[in-house]
């Protein structure tokens, strides 16, 4: 167990930098308006970040060589995508995903 002084300093430091990253844009953009070019760039953030989280879960990283396919997640993604198209309901989609992966792990 690391010393409590070390733990506290580290947690305080990490908390402050994280909080500033989250809050500073809110403080500045209350007064300022983003230039059109920046706003256009940011309009792609949701699409790209959601896709990036999903796609990165489909592989297992081995730095320095090609990523290997994470078949469990690829298989579980298929019924999840189908349930998204059919239900358009986020809760149904999440539960379908969880049950799919649980079944895959149970059966293999």
């Amino acid at each position: 167990m690391p010393s409590s002084e070390y733990l506290i300093y580290t947690i305080v430091g990490a908390s402050i930098v994280t909080w500033l990253l989250r809050v500073l844009p809110f403080i500045f953009l209350k007064k300022l308006t983003l230039p059109q070019s920046v706003a256009e760039f940011l309009s792609f953030v949701p699409l790209v970040i959601m896709a990036a989280f999903w796609f990165s879960s489909l592989f297992t990283q081995e730095v320095g060589s090609l990523p290997t396919v994470n078949w469990e997640n690829v298989l579980a993604s298929t019924p999840t995508v189908v349930s998204a198209v059919l239900s358009k309901n986020l809760l149904v989609i999440v539960i379908t995903g969880v049950i799919s992966l649980a079944l895959i792990r149970f059966l293999t």
């Binding site: 940011l42 896709a51 990036a52 990165s56 799919s100």
Partner: protein, 235 residues
């Protein structure tokens, strides 16, 4: 998801995120316990840092007794994508008070960001403090509760991943990605598909040499640049 922006709808809309945080929260608590941290330290990390991927990195670095400064710098680097998320959400709250702006920013995560950015496609490009803050607080409480629970009872419940809970978060991103794809009227679908395909390529190539902690940030910056360039060239 519908157009309503009241607090009650906020509760309903937050449920998938809260579910998603059960799996990762438990996993974080269990990993921290295994790394030698007590439940109170886990509580402090989840309450004050409140950033899943960064917290895993912090615990890893703490257990190897890395210097405080290098842990803080690693946190800054990994969490710098939050700057992009906050910049995207902040314009929706320009009319609200500074305190409300700071509250929304304080509890913004990848997941609640994605939730909010989907909501605007149903709510005529509007967000309310009541709706967002409700969803944020519930997600926050779920994260704290389950990460501490993982640290307290982790050793008795075994592997939470056996129930597929670790897929809840991925499922949420799949669902939100699809819902955004079909409801975003401002971006042509062919452009969205191009950006999604390019993101896939970036992730695959990036995994070869970019540490996974920084992959999302690098991919987001490059993917958005690609989107802007393609939009101006062909749309």
């Amino acid at each position: 998801m519908d157009e309503h922006l009241d607090m009650q709808t906020g509760i309903k809309d937050a449920i998938p995120t809260m579910l998603g945080y059960i799996g990762i929260g438990l996993a974080f608590g269990i990993v921290s316990k295994a790394a030698g941290l007590d439940p109170f330290t886990v509580f402090l990390l989840s309450t004050f840092v409140y950033a899943g991927s960064a917290q895993f990195i912090i615990v890893g670095l703490l257990s190897s007794l890395s210097p405080t400064l290098s842990i803080v710098l690693a946190t800054l680097l990994v969490n710098s994508r939050l700057l992009l998320l906050s910049m995207t959400v902040a314009p929706y709250f320009k009319q609200d008070s500074m305190v409300k702006n700071i509250l929304i920013g304080t509890l913004l995560t990848d997941e609640t960001f994605s939730l909010g950015m989907n909501k605007v496609n149903y709510s005529n490009d509007q967000l309310t403090f009541g709706w967002y803050n409700t969803a944020n607080i519930l997600s926050y409480l779920s994260w704290i509760t389950f990460s501490v629970l993982g640290a307290v009872v982790g050793e008795y419940i075994g592997d939470p991943n056996a129930f597929g809970l670790d897929f809840a978060m991925v499922g949420m991103f799949i669902g939100l990605l699809y819902l955004r794809f079909i409801s975003d009227n401002k971006t042509p679908r062919s452009l969205q598909l191009l950006v999604i395909s390019f993101t896939f390529l970036l992730v695959y190539v990036g995994l070869i040499f970019i540490p996974s902690n920084l992959l999302i940030l690098v991919v987001t910056l490059l993917g958005c640049t690609f989107g802007v360039v393609i939009k101006h060239a062909f749309f």
